[in-house]
Symmetry: D2
Subunit: 367 residues, 4 copies
């Protein structure tokens, strides 16, 4: 049961339906960071816009952003805060051609049965859902993506609390299954505390025994990384070689660490400005073909919102972007569904078990 990319079916723009549609309208942004009234807002699906009689795809999309028609004819999907005064912003709030906009939800579906299947597949995912097939499919997908795609991991702060999960994730990184990592200050600090002291928040990550004055471990790690000036400098100075962050640094996997009001520290690499942080996250998202979000409502929703359901490859072909969200709490994965990110596979389980199961499925030896 080896993985194969589904074929993308473009709309048939030669049909009279599309020929009859008007050109799309636009208006210039009245000020930096402000869209004109009636702006069109994107979805995660491929959207086509009729410009001078031709239907054109906005290639790098995301949810809830505007579409800017560049002077060279390119269609850029731009968050409203990033609009510049004078940008030509597409208008229109219908997506079935009425205003020259067409949202194509079914490009990857084969035949009529598929939508129903999709529907059934989706509803009522809970701790009682069967996940055996999801695991099998994910393993196949990861094998494919390692060599042909780009796998982006998104991690909550607790992921580094368990020695086994941390070793499994490090093995995934070292074996090429991670092309980018999005996280916050806490995940990185906990993981580096594990590398330096074998604890997380002062508790041993294997025996769970709390160390005397262990709450200083976290604070000391933050302070030392800050003194060293960067995570790589810290790793060198203390000769660390263990865990997720070390593996990423060793393998050159790009990290985007974004800040939150909950942070201690922060580590030097953490971006304090969350909107600059969003931009940096999206820069990694724009390359990725599979996203796996683990145990973080904040980062999962943030990433879900900026992840389209498709990617245009260099040869012009269109492939799906796969989005997984794994959390112990139904509420979190359901939030993703509520936000409209329907094309997600959600799994309700403890992420420690999830990652160890995935690593074993990929025949990785945990350290």
């Amino acid at each position: 049961m080896s993985f194969a990319l589904p074929v993308y079916h473009s709309p048939d723009f030669s049909s009279s339906f599309f020929a009859a549609a008007p050109d799309v309208r636009w208006e210039t942004a009245p000020a930096d960071g402000v869209a004109p009234e009636g702006f069109h807002s994107t979805s995660m699906y491929p959207e086509y816009f009729k410009i001078d009689g031709t239907w054109r795809l906005a290639e790098e999309s995301r949810m809830d952003a505007s579409v800017v028609l560049r002077p060279d004819g390119r269609l850029d999907v731009v968050e409203n805060r990033n609009l510049r005064k004078g940008d030509r912003v597409i208008l229109g709030r219908s997506e079935r051609g009425e205003e020259g906009i067409y949202m194509h939800c079914s490009g990857f579906l084969a035949g009529d049965a598929a939508p129903d299947d999709q529907f059934v597949f989706r509803q009522g995912r809970s701790r009682e859902t069967s996940y055996a097939r999801d695991y099998d499919e994910l393993i196949e997908l990861l094998r494919y993506e390692r060599d042909h795609g780009n796998i982006l991991w998104v991690m909550g702060p607790a992921f580094a609390f368990d020695a086994g999960a941390r070793a499994a994730m490090a093995a995934l990184v070292e074996n090429g299954y991670c092309h980018g990592l999005l996280a916050g200050n806490a995940l990185a600090t906990h993981d580096l505390e594990g590398a330096m002291l074998h604890t997380a928040l002062g508790q041993d990550i294997y025996t769970q025994i709390s160390q005397p004055n262990g709450h200083y471990h976290h604070l000391d790690v933050c302070n030392r990384v800050r003194r060293c000036g960067s995570i790589p400098a810290f790793i060198r100075e203390y000769e660390l070689d263990d865990g997720i962050i070390c593996a990423c640094v060793k393998k050159g996997v790009p990290l985007v660490l974004t800040g939150s009001i909950r942070d201690d520290g922060p580590l030097p690499e953490v971006m304090g400005d969350v909107y600059a942080g969003q931009n940096a996250m999206r820069a990694l998202v724009k390359r990725c073909t599979t996203v796996i979000c683990l145990a973080t409502m904040l980062h999962t929703i943030a990433t879900g919102n900026m992840t389209p359901s498709f990617r245009v490859l260099p040869d012009g072909s269109v492939r799906p972007v796969y989005l997984y969200a794994v959390d112990a709490d139904e509420f979190v994965v359901n939030k993703l569904l509520d936000r409209g990110s329907l094309a997600a596979t959600t799994m309700v389980t403890n992420v420690q078990d999830f990652i160890r199961t995935v690593a074993r499925g990929l025949d990785l030896t945990e350290t």
Copy 2:
């Protein structure tokens, strides 16, 4: 890191402390199912009672039951509803010798460090707790118990929804890691639906695809088992050989299925009287040395209440009874702690992942 039973340290009854304590008092039960006022109620710990100057252990204990002094001198731990008029019921509500009762909480602790370690170990178990060591210890424990102990599994209704989890559990049964099973009508019906139709509540247990009119699968399985008169007769008639219940029947593992007001059916083996059901459950609990409760608040608490922390072996030695509770919901495992069942290892995860991880740890090939 192979498993070894901890040594039990009896209280030193030769000390002046114990010598100075009075004999315990008793009074007869005034009616069937009624204890005398002031009755002593047991805990899950070993409890000793001073009778005619001698401290004697109530060997088969449980929580919240009375202690009956039999004419032959035996101490039976009896639920109040099972008392008979005239039974001599121990009185007293202090457990440090004041009334001839001594509860021994620290019999398995070695030295001074242990209690603190225990304390730290216990608190704050959540989805963010590290479970790597728990898995390792459980694997070692199961290897030991397969040959030297008695492993009792307690399962919630959802356990059979996933093909992988079901296969893993069946492999555990077939390889000798299950000496008894406590469950309800739903678990058995779902599992037999899987065996007959590869669905649970009409949804394929691997592909998750809902079958047309699939809600009848459950009802038909119930009805057919009832027509056959028993689960084994049903398995024979339909030539089933797959899943948890089939494995138990094949291996002769005793099942106790108890009813609830939520049941359809029920299957013929299900005990409709819940107090008779409790008696049958306790009969299995009295033999067991490890209990593993999976994804069921009702059965977990019921079993936890009747499971003591120790077992007296035929040679008179005392060993621990290990109790695990695994659930996706912190609330459920915390309920167990609230009820006083402190000597439990609680794990917060999806039980499907749990059982597959355990099976792999035991080198079992899943079908």
Copy 3:
């Protein structure tokens, strides 16, 4: 905004669609408690069966039961376990007339907009859903039902832990807003412990302070009620006059207390046989017009399964049965939806706050 019953629209059986349908088929039950293969299973909606050319409603329905054609022509909805050998059981697994069976889902809907509204209303109910209108509507409904309907309350064990919630519920009972109560042994025992000792499981229900040896409170209350022989005898002997159970006894509100394997005691009124218990529950359900389930997954699902969406009044008119399920956990209320009990209003909140808000909405003074 006063409450008015929606009008029920029967199907138009004079239409050619219904005329063309065949008579329904039946077969006799092959044994006590066993349905013939192909039996039809009911839903919570009104279902009509064509018998001798006439479409007839099964008046007292429930989910997942068989329909028995009595010699006198009556259609009884009977759980399979309650079938008797020779009963004429309706066959058929389609509900749009193909086999003489018609399920009428839209009887209370007015016009075309309604189904969509229903759909939107239903999905995604969580802690973040707006409940202001639900409260307002429930208050109006309860005012109506007090005098014209029958309100059945279903309560989980924790409901009596809070002095305020207990007083609010008692006020509802005393003021005529409760025509029946379904619960388990624990709810009744906790509430009576509150009446006798102002604690629940040994913890003061107002100050939350744990009493010395407080865990005996629960056991003593159980034992004393058992000695007295009944709840009313216990209330008389100890001169209690406080809380939910006392209010029910004083007002003559029927209680059905059903057992579970988790029970201590039990109290004398608790039905140990859960299938007899189901029968007793359904006897109350058959009278009710509004059901409110609070903080109990077990009793909520059990009751939901036996509650139809409609009631035939003595004058032959058909009205809705309203079903509310209130729980702090989305998982519990979603279980109700998964089970098919779609016509429920689910609210995610702490039931203590819920009941106090309802009592205030009804201008009841809490004691």
Copy 4:
């Protein structure tokens, strides 16, 4: 049962215990944002430092920060990221005088019974805990604090989804029960959407009916506020007068809105730099005497970490700071406990019900 401030008991520094302790040590910060090794980190409790033989209190404390000895002798509690090179940072990791540091946990406790009571009070708070007394005490506290204290509210994004909750909170603001508000972009945007369109994320906040193209409501509100340049300008231009934000603007209640990577927009007032945001939050926290956190894990933990358990009043007296955390999820309120913020009252309920119950307790008429 009117509220009275507990009296603070300073340690008796005249005792030989304190006299025998050494002076505290310090070292200068080696760089901006970096503490010297061995830095002391503060707790939420009052901490005294022995300097030149005199014990002095760090007056404006918080958790996990350093203590800087200013040239004028003042002790400032400064987050490590805010240290400047050369700041004299207190060293020491014991808090019982050994190194000239004394943490005073019991200043507000009266007599010996209190600590135990505290202990019992604290553990096992869940949906099943009795909250009647907590509500009563909170009502009394709010009446007191309105005139004599400073009440800071911390709100999650979902708080504005319900018309009733929103009206209740607005009534609290308008009647003087709110001296400051901490929230994120979403809360403010949802609430302003309610003011302008009576929806939140496109769903009517009373009827729950989804509006056509309602997902644009949120985006349009963001965009319009951005065009107007500020929330007050937006309120004026669109003549809004409804909801929480409008009430705060009208009453001059200071808002601190901090950003997250999940934000759309953001509104102009939202601080994109989360560390500047922390500073602004702490500026409000430094004035407050009661903090109430509602339905937000992120803001609750962030605020909890920067909230000390005490406040030094202008007359030099010391009073408690009360911290409440209310959430539907045990996990969230338990996180607060895990982080060490022990002096919190946690309540597990839906915040909509919570706020309406509080408003009614204060005899506020909801609009």
